[in-house]
Symmetry: D2
Subunit: 389 residues, 4 copies
Amino acid sequence: PPKTEEEDDVAQAGVNKASKGGIIYGDYLQLDKVLGAQVLQSELKANKIHDEHLFIVTHQAYELWFKQILYELDSVRDIFISGHVRDERNMLKVNTRIHRIVMILRLLVDQFAVLETMTALDFFDFREYLSPASGFQSLQFRLLENRIGVPDNLRVPYNRRHYRDNFKGHDSELLQATEQEPSLLKLVEEWLERTPGLEVEGFNFWERLEINIFEGLKAEKEKIEKMMDGEDKQELLEEVVKQKELFTSLFDEKRHDHLVSKGERRLSYKALQGALMIYFFREEPRFQVPFQLLNSLMDIDTLMTKWRYNHVCMVHRMIGSKAGTGGSSGYHYLRSTVSDRYKVFVDLFNLATFLVPRNWVPKLNPSVHTFLYTAECCDSSYCSSEDSD
Amino acid sequence: PPKTEEEDDVAQAGVNKASKGGIIYGDYLQLDKVLGAQVLQSELKANKIHDEHLFIVTHQAYELWFKQILYELDSVRDIFISGHVRDERNMLKVNTRIHRIVMILRLLVDQFAVLETMTALDFFDFREYLSPASGFQSLQFRLLENRIGVPDNLRVPYNRRHYRDNFKGHDSELLQATEQEPSLLKLVEEWLERTPGLEVEGFNFWERLEINIFEGLKAEKEKIEKMMDGEDKQELLEEVVKQKELFTSLFDEKRHDHLVSKGERRLSYKALQGALMIYFFREEPRFQVPFQLLNSLMDIDTLMTKWRYNHVCMVHRMIGSKAGTGGSSGYHYLRSTVSDRYKVFVDLFNLATFLVPRNWVPKLNPSVHTFLYTAECCDSSYCSSEDSD
Amino acid sequence: PPKTEEEDDVAQAGVNKASKGGIIYGDYLQLDKVLGAQVLQSELKANKIHDEHLFIVTHQAYELWFKQILYELDSVRDIFISGHVRDERNMLKVNTRIHRIVMILRLLVDQFAVLETMTALDFFDFREYLSPASGFQSLQFRLLENRIGVPDNLRVPYNRRHYRDNFKGHDSELLQATEQEPSLLKLVEEWLERTPGLEVEGFNFWERLEINIFEGLKAEKEKIEKMMDGEDKQELLEEVVKQKELFTSLFDEKRHDHLVSKGERRLSYKALQGALMIYFFREEPRFQVPFQLLNSLMDIDTLMTKWRYNHVCMVHRMIGSKAGTGGSSGYHYLRSTVSDRYKVFVDLFNLATFLVPRNWVPKLNPSVHTFLYTAECCDSSYCSSEDSD
Amino acid sequence: PPKTEEEDDVAQAGVNKASKGGIIYGDYLQLDKVLGAQVLQSELKANKIHDEHLFIVTHQAYELWFKQILYELDSVRDIFISGHVRDERNMLKVNTRIHRIVMILRLLVDQFAVLETMTALDFFDFREYLSPASGFQSLQFRLLENRIGVPDNLRVPYNRRHYRDNFKGHDSELLQATEQEPSLLKLVEEWLERTPGLEVEGFNFWERLEINIFEGLKAEKEKIEKMMDGEDKQELLEEVVKQKELFTSLFDEKRHDHLVSKGERRLSYKALQGALMIYFFREEPRFQVPFQLLNSLMDIDTLMTKWRYNHVCMVHRMIGSKAGTGGSSGYHYLRSTVSDRYKVFVDLFNLATFLVPRNWVPKLNPSVHTFLYTAECCDSSYCSSEDSD
């Protein structure tokens, strides 16, 4: 289509800066390294198989993005560890970076579609050359799991051995270190425990919630008892009994600790209270961003689990029920890791079980709830430093 | 959730092969290189800006995938150049690899969503450190355009200079070479020219099509002339005149060559005939895979153009109407490249203009159309070699 | 940006046809029906909850697409049932429509991202009004499963009852009918059984494959036995034994039938042979499109299973571990359906277990393999009718 | 895979509620209407073309989602119009719903991939039956544009006529009404004008910013003047002059109003100031959610424009350069609408042109910036009503 001269002028108005020296694109990105790292084992063995190149590039792309995820994750963990999170101005950064992880994971889930253009038959042609290399040996993926908070004791073993036995020397130490360092789960837990409104001498959310719920259930029961007899009445009464049991369990700290010890809950009793408070008062100005954060954490869990599942599907297609190149049981091993055991923030999902009608939620007294629209910021020097990482 | 022991047994039945030596994951993928190539310019200048890491990783991921696309593209071009394409068994490979390029491009179009988690403000903080590096200097992207078949003379200039002036030494020579080598467009053109059924002494598709179309139009005109007078009649007659003009242009080789010289058509007159023949007889066994190929080529064009457009959108957001880091006019330069000038297979799209009712398509005489269900295969030695690349 | 007048002229050159009468957009699409079907139960109960609208629209969009999938599926099944599939010209149609189903399913998997913008708390507000409606009652989804070929006896029961008990009258009969009608699985099975090359008096693929494999394994064993002693030797020998067992099972028809009776295999012994033959000779002209079809069938299985898994993830988030609105155990019920039991074409995946080195595949004698590049077409009248549906 | 009995128990623990009456799935979703609205024109004309069904379903799915977008958009506009937006608790709702629109648009951009499984040839077979129906007649799409804020005077005409001339009676009136009602753009503008910190008697952001910028530029100029002579020096000085011109334009209200009159800017001078203030102080607690909102508004613009572009690509493929079914110039008309004229929030993009180094941004005095971490909430009755829509 013809263009006006004026348009052309605008599009061509630049000055070519590169001619004057300084860094250029390829050096900036170190493309000699990145694009020089595709060595086909099949070619080394004098039997070049075309599709091995795709296999390599895809895995390198995964590792590149894993590095980015770890980078974001560590920066967020630093904000929590350093206490900077107490200045609520830093919540934007936390939220943005966690959201970025979500967006990357979304891409990685879709990325399987590219590798799936390789059929089982294409893979078979070079598969023997890969042994014993295996995706199980991805250090970054294990670091990622540890830093989010997959607990050591809930991991599915790998060929009946501890996952860390598959790593040596520095890598093994690095993994052990990340098992000791505070995971995102632990840091979020501490932060939730400080949720404003939980204090007994203040709003005392938890006690007031307990009272409201059991009064609510009592009222409901009374209402049902006034109904005419019939099958429905009995059923409704049974439902109230069930609800009562359910909520009794919620307010039973011992039971909570028991579930934690079994790995069925992961957050402390106090942190759980904080999360539920944020759920109920999510519209209060101070809780809007924290509420988004809790949702993004569930996104991460969901996407990690979808990633695992898509991986399983691809492996099933590639090798049927054969053993993996690293010697694992392949499909069956991977299938066993698509489990709630690997859902780090499972408590945030399960809180949906404890929702109650809006009128049971403790009311915020106008004179009291000021703290929910006044953020905590410190004006000291360290707060103003934007990017001290 | 509890598992049976039997299930556990299956999932844990592997043997850990890595303990015995041999290549492992990280070495296979050369992760030391790939994951050691993220150097932040802002950090070198003692002002580390967090988001520069994302900027680097995203561009590296793009370049990795560009390498894969070039790899597939070259392997397909080799099949055409070597003449292996005459053995129709190789069409599966051609089709699969072109389709793989489509799948990669689809991922790359989506990948902008990740970089878009960086706001203009985040970018501004490290943008000055990048100068004069610029995406315009991506060698692989220019190679890609050349190998698909973006013609030199239709390129939008860059700051009023030839695009190749922005590359030096080896890179510039490489680009010049790819301008001379047969592009995918040229190779597809030659292949289309050989479409069975075009031969004058055989089915003679083109002449028969011309006859049918003009007879059809004549019959239509006569039918309309018998109608009662009225506004509609006049309009329908005008429509027939327009159609006649349109189809006259299709069968006018001189006009075709004129359009080619202006860059509005790209395929030879003969190749265009082949493409239209494949369109009309796409269900014939020999044409099913070629028809898919033509569709995939349009997919590539469409996705490249969507990639350009998404790039424009992102740049608009990042730098408003500022100049690019390389000195170009940024947004306005990029905007001007989202143009049909860069659609290599534009003729395949425009063929939609020349579709006709099914009963105008020349009929295949049963005794004649055997050639459309008998593939050409050679049983000589080179044909059986599957992956000689 | 300014435009030339010429450009404007082109863009504005149309004639407004709608002013002359005839069908217009809204009537064509019956938008009065489609856009008049959003009735919020919460609003009827005088407690309008904003997010219920999204809930309704999302489910309607799912059902619209299910209808399209069923439409494509039925048209493909008709081509098989009517025998039109014997004219290989119809394979393009089969392939294109199955591929379209794949593309729709891909959209549906992504579509969960929209409903996930609704939090558990938003859902809780109107959830009670929905009871006892439940996604389990989606007739189209059950029809879809039946028509693809989910077998009745492998279905997970629903609240300990047969899935069909949840449907009444006409719907229940419709479901029962689809259980009797040939599913896509059965039709593909019959088609695979006719794969050219299986005939004992012809190429006799199966017997020749068996011979080659066991000769190959024997040769391998002998080679290993000549090696020096050591741990490796023993291991390699064990591996050969395992392989021998594996392949013995492949050629054991009784064992196959036993696995079929347990639901672990679904295709007949003969059909499995056909599929494997297509795998090995996928590059032969006649097998290129059939090979794509087999891949698309696996795509359907994979995407259906991803759809189930994404559904599970969403439900976990919405209701935690509560019961579903229809009374099911919700999350736990759905989780149990993400199982290989629901993978209809599981045999196509598992064939990856039986791949062998290329030199073990029976060689095609040049004079013999003509049948692999000559398609079967009939020139009778019904073949030429393109869209008789 | 075998399951424990316990697991089965959990998955089957539900009670079938549907058997007791009440609304069921199909009635709730009014599937009789939604799934009964696919009438093929080609079938009515006794020439059923298979692919018309896909064409109908795809467009219905688009319209369903357009309805949802309008629903969310209207609810957000209501929050602004009613003044509820002054209670910052409502910002979560605004943000969530705008984000939901973003997610829907993302799906709609991808949805073209499904319709693209239909080739030009398939479309040609039923295209004549559709005339004069045309996507241009989509009432909801025009309403959507108007409610977001596409201004009447910037619209590309359609066949040289006003877009509204293509609608009759009630539809035309509805469109005219939405041109008068406050668009999202206007409402966001008013809201931005109230950004805390703009007040001259308060923080006086704008004046302080102007002072800082020109002092900054002066200092830069002086620094350059002290440099040794050379080509670079001259260039840097020219750059400062350009910058000075640029920022002079920013603080020139008359020039701003002139640009508004030409349609190159859309927001009032005051609103632009508010937006820039939010950009610079985005980390302040009160601005975190507003900053997200501004980003989501750009997302909407970007996705609407991607939608238009994908639409253009699809149309090019379907009809080449033929006229549209409604009589428009088809491809060329649509191409002309992929323009910044249709970017409603273009000012938010262009603000990237006016970013300055962090140390030029006016400092927040600790005693002063309290207002940036204290939200405005009203405790009156209307605020507490969560969902009064």
